[in-house]
Amino acid sequence: MTGRRVSTGGLIDRERSLEFSWNGERLEGFGGDTLASALLANGKSVVGRSFKYHRPRGVMSAGVEESGALVTLGRAEWSDANVRATTQELYDGLVAKGQNAWPSVEFDLGSVNNLFGRFLAAGFYYKTFMGIPPLEWGTGTGAWMWYEKFIRKAAGMGRASRLPDPDKYEHAHDYCDVLVVGSGPAGEAAAIAAADKGLDVVLVEQDSMLGGDNLVVDTSQSPVSRLAHLESQGIRVMTRTTAFGIYDNLVVGLLERISDHLTDPPTYLPRQRFWTLRPRFIVLATGAIERHLAFGNNDRPGVMTAMAGRAYLNRFGVLVGDKVVVATTNDSAYEVAVDLHHAGAVVSLLDARAQVSSILTDVVQSIGIDLHLASAPLDIKGRRAVRRLLIAKSDGSSWRQAFSKECDSVLVSGGWSPVINLLSHRGVRPIWHRDNACFLAGPTDEFITVAGAAAGIWTKAGCIKSGENAGNIASSAINEKSLYKLSPTSIENSSWSNPIMPLYEIRESNKKLKSFVDFQHDVSAEDVRLAHREGYISVEHLKRYTTLGMATDGGKMGNVIGLALMAEAAGKEIPDIGATVFRPPYTPVSIGALSGRSTGKYFRPLRRTSLHNWNIAHGAVMVETGLWQRPWYYPQPGETLSEAYVREAETTRHSVGLCDVTSLGKISVQGPDASEFLNRIYTNPFAKLPIGKARYGIMLRDDGVVMDDGTTWRLTETDYFMTTTTAHAAQVMAWLEELLQTRWSDLRVHVTSVSDAWAGIAVAGPQSRAVLESNVDNTEDISNENFPFMGVREILLKDGTQCRIARISFSGELAYEVYVPADFGPHVMEKLWTTAKNFGGCLYGLEALGTLRIEKGHVTGAELDGRVTLEDAALGKMASPNKSFIGSTLSRRSELLREDRPQLVGIFPKDRMATFNAGSILKGATSVVECGDGWITAVTHSPELGHWIGIGFISGGRRAWLDKQVFSSDPVRNMDVEVEIVSPHMVDPDGVRLHG
């Protein structure tokens, strides 16, 4: 191919010169060029190497169906592989290179594969390298695992960068009455017709310019004026936007390319935007893709579709060759031949049909185009470029080589395949249309219609009429909520004047040719026949055996030819063979666009307590627990985590500690039936909880397994304040809502999450009451007599801040939980801390909180993991025998009452100097069970006991292991430690300190 830029014409901006790099070489193009058109204009014919055989490939189309010109853009972390040069807009500074080749696409050592092409047919690698006899007889596919990496390295496409993607992406949502996909004559007419009816219309076009086919066949109206006209009609136009999939309820996925065409995009712009559009009606004016023909060496650089040749000339001002052969089976290529002739090329036209109306033949012959009827391309001579075309003549039943022509490019039109992929996503089966030799979309009951070439309409006037009809159908459907179907055949003058010849392959009966069906995956006509011979008669099996229709083009170019050859081999018609179903996406969607902004710091939202800044200002090291940011520990200068948490726990036990417990779930339960509601969801009685008292409660799931625990405070007769664990707050809230809405809608109760409304501060330790006394006006309010264990008070602090305080303890010490409106949290914490310091107190974080609760054997989410019953957690007494509650029936299942179930225990190391790990297995000395007899959920150094302790579960509980040898086994770290099973209440088991 000797492509060159013609001096005039096209929609490019010749005033705007752009410099770009191709395989390290600096080249120039113009504004409006694609990378493909610029490469052609610079005479670059070999731009890629094929998937398997490494055959040289050139530009084969001018659109998204491209299989030859797949390139890699950018460098390092900006590297983007498998980009279609035919759709990549050229910009100043663009860097591109060929892929799947070494050292270059011009000279690729991998092309040695082509020499062995006859051995590398479909299935070769699996047949040859799996279960190699006799080495692998009876041993499976071990050797394949070794071979595979070399095979994969030799074959393939571009390589993705392994560096983090530096680009930004985002999601977006929108709604409209009518979505029109495609801005060609049909799409434009449909959009205008729908807008005329007062509908809100969105028109999407995957190209950078509006116009579709008009950009190739009629450039009289500029894309800019088209845009202005459409927008003046109130139509919302989105260019560079691909509708890649249609999903349930007419949800459409769109991919908008925002900055892929910009040299230096602003940092605030995303690279691509992933749209979720919800239209009420969809018009698919997606056009049709021109097919190739299968003939010898039909993949050589210089072979492309006829319409692509016309597009490069009329849109980009590039003449693809000086000696051009146009080969066709239909009328559409005649105009191509004429345009190329007028541009100065020597054109020969091969028409496979023996008879064509003189109206058509006169047009080309009158200007000197060399026309041959009943003629078709047979084989190409030339390796990295077309040198000569061998031409076959038909005798009506077979093809025979007749003559040859010297040429530098071959433009092929084997018919047109309407783009019906999007309807296929909705499960609409394609139907073979014999007259047009193509698949058309079958009927659908959804509010979707097809217009223009996508509906098999080949004339511009027919497309416009079809588009207008589609716009009117959309209006009727939306207004009358019913769908009026329109058959494409009802459009007059919608087809060519001469019928298409259903031709897919040209070959001589006794001659083998390398004729490709699917260029992207190197699937040849022989591969299809081989698959048939080997028994792959289902089209789905054919696809998987040969890989026909896979990869990024999804069968846009090769599927119909492959089906036709399969049908011929099977002695059937194409409709009898069936068709594979197109699945989304229509064209590739980058993983980055799927992620949108949800990466890095935006991967998930984090949750901060109102004390967050205060905690950090006071030296907290933070840790993520779920979504919450919580203080882990407050190190003093030079202190390690271990030193800090031991100090914090020790100080709290002996003086006072303050801890941010805001993350606990908090739910307001209000209503006349609130007591009854709580009585039903908790295992223990709540009906008679006095006002001003809190009670520890456990709720079960329906299946009798523990869901969550916490305290609930009775504020008034009808008003409760429930706390939940941090981990299960959302689950409990949803559960309560579900119960009220589905099971007990008769109960007059409202539940409201107030987790964010209150800041919570635990004041724990023997000096905790003294700390509070210093901050309240009336110290009598918090005396032991007036404010006993499990008491609840609304108290005013000295500065007038209203607090809600309960005397409850997670640490086992005299302790209070102080709740204040969240915005006042930092202020109250500061007041309490100022006082606590005077008592030698400390701030303590999650690590020390864990130490204190493990010493007491208090359970958390680590223990309540969805497998544990009340009895397992040593809380069996919490189940009231006098009432029914959620889970009460199923909790009495025999399986849940077995005595050998794992039960909560405390764990000491036999050697008190030893340590052991959370997550370890507990197992007896003679145990042979791989999963052991239990597990350890949490461990800590206990300052009170002076050695390592843990809690966990072991089969049968403590009594079952008295005087037996038990080991903590950590197979991951290869650590076995002999341990002693003790009561889970390891410190102050009688709870004396709580009542201090």
């Binding site: 999601h171 935006y602 209503g671």
Partner: protein
């Protein structure tokens, strides 16, 4: 009285961000939110609707998903049996047999998104139909923004976002990052 501390304190940076020479979106926080939730029982719905309308001096309480704004106070009908009373309204005395009230002023941060591109910006993060035909001024929507449940009131001044206090900073950050492409003023 102790001063309330905003969820965004230390994170609020005034100025212009992103696209230059254009202000498509204005982002601001309205501190010291006053928000009382009023909930009723199905059989008392009409009674409490009437009582609320009377308190606000309006003929009828707003329908579900709508808001009645009078000066600096507003009544938002956020759920079938729940209203939010926004602004400095005198406390309502509601007997428990009729309904329940709950002060949730500290539970949320009040963020306003305004400007010519506010609805476009918001639709980059929420899936609700914000076209004027579907979400006119006075509409209330409950939806998810960056995985977090938020309530949005389309007021005459823009979109009033009531976001859970604990998530306020991260939601603010993603709103800011999204709005920069339109030209963002933080006021």
């Amino acid at each position: 009285m102790v001063e309330r501390i905003s969820a965004l304190i230390g994170h609020y940076q005034f100025g212009h961000f992103g696209k230059e020479e254009q202000v498509g979106v204005v982002l601001s926080e309205l501190p010291n939110l006053s928000l009382i939730q009023v909930a009723t029982w199905p059989e008392n719905f009409q009674e409490l609707s009437f009582q609320l309308a009377k308190s606000y001096g309006i003929k009828n309480a707003p329908e579900k998903g709508k808001c009645a704004a009078i000066g600096d106070i507003a009544l938002l009908h956020v759920e079938p049996l729940k209203w939010w009373c926004y602004g400095p309204l005198a406390p309502l005395e509601i007997p428990i047999e009729t309904g329940a009230s709950l002060d949730i002023s500290h539970s949320r941060a009040h963020v306003r998104l305004s400007g010519t591109e506010a609805h476009v910006c918001l639709n980059r993060l929420i899936s609700v139909d914000l076209r004027s035909s579907a979400c006119p001024v006075g509409s209330i929507v409950s939806t998810s923004l960056h995985h977090v449940g938020v309530t949005i009131w389309h007021s005459k001044d823009g979109y009033e976002l009531f976001v859970p206090r604990g998530f306020a900073i991260d939601l603010w950050d993603i709103l800011k990052a999204t709005a920069e492409q339109f030209g963002l003023d933080i006021a």
